[in-house]
Amino acid sequence: MRKYIAKRLLVSVATLLVILLILFLLLNLMPGSPFNSPKLSVEQKAALLREYGLDRPVLVRYFLYLKNMLRGDFGVSYSLSPNTPITTLLKHRLPVSLMMGFCSMVVGSIAGLALGFFAAFRKGKAADILCTVVSVLGVSIPSYLFAIALSYGLGFRAKLLPLIYDFRHPVLSGIMPVLSCSVIVMAVVAQFTRDEAAAVLESDYVEFARSQGIGGKDLFFGYVFRNSMMSVLTVITMLLVGLLSGSMVTEDIFSVPGIGSLLNDAISQNDYNVVIALSFIYAVIYLLARLMLDVLYGILDPRVRITDTDE
């Protein structure tokens, strides 16, 4: 397993370097420049490009960036927050999005797993149909409308939770955004769990276990849960990547100071360093999530460990 993880880490680093290079090349092709104020003369724009080294060839900039990145310097923002170091820019915002994404994943997964298993054990009955309806609604209702509905119910009418982010009450302010983001997780996880668990429940080994008199908790945790989790974990991991990178819509609605809309803003304003840093972070999150998934596969499925040992 260790050898496997080391190999995966090496591949991940190489992948990140390629991703960075592609980003540099793509950003170089983007029209316009970060200095887009109509009140800047052509000479002033040229001077600013020189000042930030943006008049240099793209490959020179790539290697300079790599060199600085190894020292923890991701450069400064050009237009979103001129001259602010990217690390300062992300220092406050990234943890907010990571925490919000993680909480949404935990809340959504627990609710989804509970709903999915509940439906699987009652396949074809009213509870199963209800689970399907809830899942379909969860997937099809845009989180935007769900967030507005939550705001109206819990914020505007009941006055239980802050309608918009309040720095004095960060935890309370996070509840509605987390709930909004967790709906889609719950819906997807519930549907996958239901389908997987239903298949496992009909499998020969579960039938055999039942015939041996195994039931209740032992059957669920020993046979059903573990065997259903393989594909559910894949789904959760992929959802986690999306959640950790911040939800633009939810963050905008609740004024959450996260990174959700930062990439969008940075692309529209040609703030290359912010685009590169965020894309790099997303790539790292994705690669780490894949790695975590592989390790979890190994823990859940002995066959993966055996195959690895054979290698």
Partner: protein, 565 residues
């Protein structure tokens, strides 16, 4: 200052259907609960105590006054800076950190006398050297500040161009401090609106000692921001969605400041902002988009300012037909501006039939510069039949029976161009108009390269003087992308900038506007200010001439009566 384009269109990023659906849901919900009466008693959000809670759609790109080039950042910075002069609630200039000013006879030297009691937020005195340092900091090419245009394009400080070209040291800039309380400013040529320039954000004082002692870039934390105005920054991080200020005890007019603090929240979602206002979480909310339709008739709805204009800019040297007066007259007379402003752009927008919007600038006698609404009806009214006549005549003169051109537009405003193009093609036979939607960067690049036929664009004036709009159409203006040229217009603008007698200058500006509009140097469309909902327990809330919030030092907030209503 630049109002960020796309600000209005930011709200359009969600799907139109979702937006409409959400507005409908919200409308129904608010109606069911008696929306207008449900304010008060907010227990959530930052609505505690007597802080003023403001909702806007943007955040601050910078908190450094000498790097501030757009109104969005200025909104946040202005809470914590003092300036030599500032606007009062009647948009009149009043001294703030300055006590008085002497202007030389030739209008080129301004001597400001500062108030001895001026203090920065850290208790250190504000002296004339702090203005000198700040202005040099903004102009110094090494600083890379884009705000240097304030001291160059707007007022031509002595030696500024040579300093920007690197041919002269920044110490040679035409600003000096003969003593701690006297600031002398030398201009290359008279600037009749110079006192408005010294009310702009980049002219705020800055302490050299404070900047040099920082171990992080200025304006990246509350500790790295030095206040010289009514409030101190209490909570801030770059691009934060919420900035909190507390009263500055060292501010020269601290006794006038009635509220203990301000919390500005960036709320990008118009429905949520509206709901937060209705719930009493926000005391003042700047509104855009479709939620404005919910506020019709609300007595707390206030429209401020009219410093932004939107228009079509023809590229005279690229499209031969635009050199034909009849063709341009036909295009001008077949735009239904009233309908666009009322039905497409909705509240906060008004039709524009000239260059200078009404309520923007004043004549020397105090009357509105644009006091005659129908002054240019002949050129910019809505007259389809007349337009058709001009069109046929124009085509004949051009020796062609059809015309085709393209409108370059920022994608956020594509709908405006589409409506106009459809109207033109309906009213003017054999006309084919294509739309080229691009993002803001692309648009500016294409405009700079003169790579367009007709361009939908906008402009926000920096100071409430007609020159703030007229100057962009002179032959040598770098942002005259359409290359409109008229020697008489150029002469009038040049001479008006040197004219110290207000009446004569005013006549020149009126004449220049007449030439530009009658020449169809541009196709005016609409003007916009800002639409605010301000709670009735708040008084003294006012904006500057652009419709953006001023420093809130006159704001008072009374406690709301408990319960609903």
């Amino acid at each position: 200052m630049v109002r960020k384009r796309g600000e209005e269109s930011r709200m359009r990023k969600y799907g139109a259907f979702q937006r409409r659906l959400a507005v409908s849901v919200l409308s129904a919900a608010l109606l069911m609960t008696g929306c207008g009466a449900s304010r008060g008693g907010a227990s959530s959000g930052s609505g505690e105590g007597t802080d003023l809670n403001i909702g806007v759609t943007w955040n601050a790109a910078t908190m450094d006054p000498q790097y501030c080039i757009e109104m969005n950042s200025a909104t946040y910075i202005n809470m914590c800076i003092g300036r030599l002069y500032t606007e009062n609630s009647e948009h009149q200039l009043v001294p703030e950190l300055a006590e008085s000013v002497e202007i030389s006879e030739d209008g080129k030297t301004y001597t400001f006398h500062l108030r001895p009691e001026n203090r920065f937020g850290n208790g250190e005195p504000i002296r004339a050297e702090d203005f000198v340092y700040a202005w040099r900091r903004a102009v110094d090419p090494a600083s890379g500040s884009q705000a240097s245009y304030v001291f160059d394009d707007l007022c031509r400080l002595k030696n500024v161009d040579k300093i920007k070209e690197g041919k002269m040291s920044v110490e040679e800039l035409g600003v000096s401090a003969p003593d701690g309380l006297t600031l002398r400013v030398e201009l290359q040529e008279p600037c009749p609106y110079f006192l408005y320039v010294v009310a702009l954000t980049p002219t705020a004082p800055m302490s050299r000692a404070f900047i040099e002692a920082l171990d992080e870039p200025y304006g990246t934390s509350p500790e790295s921001i030095l206040s010289s105005g009514p409030f101190l920054v209490d909570r801030y991080d770059p691009l934060s969605t919420q900035v909190h200020y507390v009263r500055n005890p060292y501010y020269v007019f601290a006794d006038q400041v009635k509220i203990p603090g301000i919390c500005i929240t960036q709320q990008k979602d118009e429905q949520q902002e509206m709901m937060a206002y209705q719930a009493g979480v926000l005391d003042a909310a700047l509104l855009y988009g479709e939620v404005l339709s919910l506020t019709e008739g609300d007595p707390n709805l206030i429209e401020y300012g009219s410093a932004s204009i939107y228009f079509m800019m023809p590229n005279f040297n690229r499209v031969e037909a635009f050199q034909n007066r009849n063709i341009l007259a036909a295009l001008n007379l077949s735009v239904n501006r009233e309908s666009i402003a009322k039905n497409l752009m909705k509240q906060g927008h008004r039709a524009l039939t000239r260059l200078i919007p009404d309520g923007f600038a004043k004549n020397p006698d105090g009357t509105d510069f644009a006091g005659e609404p129908d002054a240019f009806r002949e050129s910019c009214g809505y007259a389809p039949e007349k337009a058709l006549e001009y069109w046929k005549k124009g085509l004949k003169e051009l020796g062609t029976d059809s015309l085709r051109f393209e409108i370059l537009t920022e994608s956020g405003h594509q709908d405006v161009s589409e409506v106009i193009a459809a109207e033109w093609m309906k009213l003017l036979p054999e006309l084919k108009v294509d739309i080229r939607p691009v993002n803001t960067q692309q648009q500016l690049q294409l405009m700079g390269n003169k790579d367009f036929d007709l361009c939908f664009t906008g402009w926000t004036a920096d100071y409430p003087d007609p020159a703030g709009f007229l100057a962009i159409f002179t032959s040598d203006a770098f942002n005259n992308y359409g290359e409109y040229t008229d020697p008489e217009f150029d002469r009038l603008i040049k001479e008006s900038s040197l004219e110290l007698e207000p009446e004569r200058r005013n006549e020149m500006l009126h004449e220049a506007e007449r030439i530009l509009v009658e020449d169809a140097g541009f196709i005016p469309l609409y003007t916009s200010g800002a639409t605010w909902l301000v709670s009735d327990n708040v008084s003294g809330f006012h904006t500057d001439f652009t419709g953006f919030i001023q420093d809130c030092r006159f704001v008072e907030k009374r406690e709301k009566a408990g319960g609903e209503g």
